[in-house]
């Protein structure tokens, strides 16, 4: 079995049981950032260097969504043949920010509705001979209670 690793170190905790996006939070004004800010808070009234890693909310509300019917150019690593996928923009309530992610495999735009509850999952983005590279994805929250549906 291949080792599962994050497709981009430091951006999210790929723990399959409980994946979380890793952002940063300003110790001074309490603003959140994703991806992480490493050297200064971007609130123009703040600018503090006191930034700490923080796990962002794993659920949110669907702000909008779409999909890709054509294969994107590199550096996207596409399976052959290309498999269309949906993309979601999800609003996190506590952080008051919208975060993009692909939508979990097997969920199509017809399954989505603006305003619905979404949650984070970790899925394979691509793999090579040794490893599977995981990325965060969004999926309708209700799905977590039941086994994943197949759309084959």
């Amino acid at each position: 079995m291949k080792t599962k690793v994050s497709a981009l170190d430091g951006w999210f905790d790929a723990n399959p049981e409980r994946p979380r996006l890793i952002g940063s939070r300003c110790g001074s004004c309490r603003s959140y950032f994703f991806p992480k800010e490493t050297f200064a808070c971007r609130n123009p009234s703040c600018g503090s260097a006191e930034l700490a890693d923080v796990a962002l909310s794993a659920t949110g509300t669907l702000w909008s969504y779409t999909d890709n019917h054509y294969q994107p150019p590199a550096p996207y690593v596409s399976p052959e043949p290309f498999v269309p996928y949906a993309i979601a923009a999800v609003e996190l309530a506590d952080e008051k920010m919208v975060v993009l992610g692909q939508v979990a495999h097997g969920v199509a735009t017809a399954d989505l509705k603006v305003g619905m509850r979404m949650e984070l999952v970790a899925e394979t983005l691509y793999s090579d001979d040794a490893k599977e590279y995981l990325v965060w994805k969004w999926t309708p929250a209700a799905r977590s209670a039941s086994p994943a549906r197949s759309r084959s």
Binding site: L8, R30, S31, Y32, N68, P72, Y76, M97, V99, L100
Partner: protein, 396 residues
């Protein structure tokens, strides 16, 4: 400052298309056309501002000098500007500032591009800190993905339909039909738009702007110079190049997330609304004064967002404005009489300049086959990646 205006003495374009030539050739053709239109010799140009292209190697990063050298070194001062899709208005802004500061009387603004086929892809190499690279790697988020997110949001918030979006394309195709500089000059029906392949739901192939080759140029002069060389020239009364205010709460290409509004409330005027608001304030006008507009219709649906962002109607009313024919030539405030990106495709550094060319022809009454009657005030709006607002107010 006594005078805030500069004159547009000449405009010129090289037709948009997929010609496959060196971008410099388009830039030179557009520059020569603008100089001829102004009746000014190249050697009388004192300042050259180029809009850069990042897809044509080193000459593209210094586009002002590249075009100046191709026209023949004349000792003119030069600058080259990059602001993604807003590069052209960055060049306009710098040229105008030099004129208003008294540093020169005659400036040439030029932008040209040669583009590859297909989706815009990020610069090559492994670049794990560049959001424009990472959005392709981690999300496969092409430009149409972002346009489609806005389109779907419009449908959810305001009840916009596929048919509304298709009507924008139908309108722009009709507007651009007689425009000799447009790449696509063919009428389409709603049915043809709706039958074209889905690219990113809900946007179809005919609703997403292509990438094109093309070139556009302006000859800008001080008002004092213009008074000696022309009667009643078109003028530029405002240029806005504003950036967003923190926190910017609309997801923007190529970002993964918006700013957080958890600690600081969103600004009273959102970024896209602030772009023309700044231009109107500079020109001392309001959206009710606008007779014609050129807006950045990267997608059919995005044109509707712009109606609201530039103040033509309240949020949620754009579909009504479109369906009532207000934004069609013959209506109260025609939008994209040139045919817009829908008929041109995007030649990045030339596009914001081309918007000013079109409004200049409109205000002069020279827009054959697409003329907006009695237009006195025109506005352009455009937005470049990474927070580049762009708007120019043109008056006569």
């Amino acid at each position: 400052m006594s005078e805030r205006k500069v004159a547009v003495l000449g405009v010129g374009m090289h037709p948009w298309g997929k010609w496959g030539k060196n971008f410099v050739e388009y830039g030179v053709a557009a520059a020569r056309a603008a100089l001829a239109d102004a009746g000014i010799a190249w050697k009388d140009v004192q300042f050259v501002a180029g809009g850069d292209t990042i897809r044509n190697g080193y000459p593209g990063f210094i586009a002002g000098a590249t075009v100046a050298q191709a026209l023949g070194w004349s000792g003119a001062q030069v600058t080259s500007c990059y602001g993604a899709c807003a590069s052209g208005s960055q060049a306009v802004s710098v040229a105008r500032a030099h004129i208003l500061a008294g540093n020169c009387d005659v400036a040439l603004v030029v932008g040209a591009d040669t583009t590859p086929k297909g989706f815009f892809a990020p610069q090559a190499g492994e670049r794990g800190t560049d959001p424009d690279w990472l959005r392709f790697r981690l999300l496969g988020a092409t430009n149409p993905v972002y346009f489609a997110l806005y389109a779907r949001r419009r449908m959810a918030l305001y009840g916009a339909t596929d048919r509304d979006f298709a009507k924008v394309k139908v309108k722009n195709a009709r507007h651009g039909l007689e425009n000799p500089y447009a790449r696509y000059r063919k009428l389409v029906t709603e049915e043809e738009v709706l039958a074209s392949p889905m690219v990113s739901d809900p946007l179809r192939l005919l609703e997403i702007c292509a990438t094109s080759d093309g070139g556009a140029a302006l000859v800008l002069t001080s008002m004092a110079y213009a008074r000696k060389h022309a009667t009643d020239p078109v003028t530029i009364s405002a240029v806005s190049t504003v950036t967003p205010r923190y926190p910017s709460t609309v997801i923007e290409m190529p970002n993964f997330a918006t700013d957080s509004a958890a600690a600081v409330p969103p600004p009273p005027v959102a970024f896209r609304d602030s772009i023309t608001a700044a231009a109107y304030a500079q020109a001392g006008i309001g959206p009710e004064d606008v007779d014609v507009a050129e807006v950045y219709d990267l997608s059919s649906a995005l044109e509707l967002d712009w109606y609201e962002n530039i103040g033509l109607c309240p949020a949620g009313d754009a579909e009504k404005l479109l369906n009532d024919g207000v934004t069609t030539i013959g209506g109260r405030v025609p939008v994209n009489p040139s045919g817009g990106l829908s008929c041109f495709g995007e030649a990045i550094p030339a596009q914001a300049i081309a918007q000013v060319c079109e409004l200049t022809w409109q205000l002069r009454g020279q827009a054959t086959g697409r003329q907006v009657e009695r237009a006195k005030v025109g506005v352009t709006v455009n937005q470049g990646l990474f927070g580049h607002g762009s708007s120019v107010v043109v008056q006569r």
